[in-house]
């Protein structure tokens, strides 16, 4: 049985080449949710870089209007990626 690793990457725009500003990796195992770590290192600088490493995008961020000049809103654009691992991986 293969299982799904899930990686959230937040980027500064909808472009696959945009800089990553946040991430969360959910491993397919019984565990607590990932949390903020003092020594965390952003694993990829762009979604494209993650694709090159074998990740597959399963959710692309929606277009946002972003036309309110008075607000700086939600943090980045959220891509969700997956990578399947087998029992023996």
């Amino acid at each position: 049985m293969s299982r799904q690793r899930v990686l959230y990457l937040n980027t500064v725009s909808r472009s696959l080449r945009a800089a990553v500003v946040g991430f969360a990796l959910h491993e397919p195992e019984t565990s607590d949710a990932p949390q903020v770590e003092v020594d965390a290192v952003i694993p990829y600088q762009s979604v494209h870089e993650a694709i090159l490493d074998g990740w597959r995008v399963v959710h692309f961020p929606d277009q946002r209007l972003d036309i309110n000049p008075e607000q700086v809103g939600a943090f980045g654009y959220e891509f969700i990626l997956e990578r399947m691992v087998g029992e023996n991986d």
Binding site: Y8, N10, V12, S13, A19, V20, V21, G22, F23, A24, D32, P34, Q35, V36, E37, V38, D39, A40, I42, D66, P69, E70, Q71, V72, G73, A74, F75, G76, E78
Partner: protein
Amino acid sequence: MTSASNLGLLNDDQVASFIINGYIIVEPDLAADYHESIISALREMPENPGGHIVEALPEIIGVLEDPKVKGALTSLLGQKYVRDPGGHIHMNPPLTRGQPWHQDERFGRGHQDRDVDHIRQLMFMYYPQDVDAEMGPTVLLPGSHRRISSPESMVTLVNLRGQAFSIVKAGSVLLTHYDIWHAATGNKSDRVRYMIKFPLSRTQENNEPSWNHDPTSLPAVRQRLDGEHPSLLSRNEYETDHALRVRTWNNIAGTAAMPLQSGEHLGGPWPVSGGATTASRQRRDMPQLG
């Protein structure tokens, strides 16, 4: 009357830093045994006193009255700031998990209308013991106090570029803009981490800067407000953010307000081959992250 130097007022550069980043760390002039006595008192408390911190721990007034702390608060909230009702003692015992990212009370109890271009309310966080990386330091996202985000929109966010941790020595006070994104992180150590938190508010608008202002520093302040970003931003966020920062300065600077329009951020080195096409774009794409 306490003189400006004795009061420990901030200077223009420090106020600009606060506007840009949304926080400042103050180290009060209190002896180590003062902080140790606070820890002892906290350990002896049978339960959390909730918002009745000063009644349960009257010694805490010593930190609130420290000249450096008062100077920073006066600088950021004006001469007649007040401590609001409430507050909270955070006890983070060993092996606790971290909190999710949040803004305090941003969506409820009449807080929806808080200004993103002003400093009306601060959060005071006092750490009576050293806090190292293992002890669950508070994490905050510099510059996030101008982002209005619901808890639901933050729920998938975990590690963020530019996140900063309150790894501080005993007695330090972290003053943050009330709206900064923050969270307690997990305590991986075998020690308890205490933090005492109070909200404080401005009660009147400034007619002039309430900090140690020097008019000759305005060009340098403007350069920072226009071009310095603590995190990566999209283009529209970048433009919005630096306008809001100048407006924040103007809302607290009284007679030292500056024009909203400026070309300061357009200046800088010529582009290099293979890089960004303008200096401002280069600063936006490659901010000096703390």
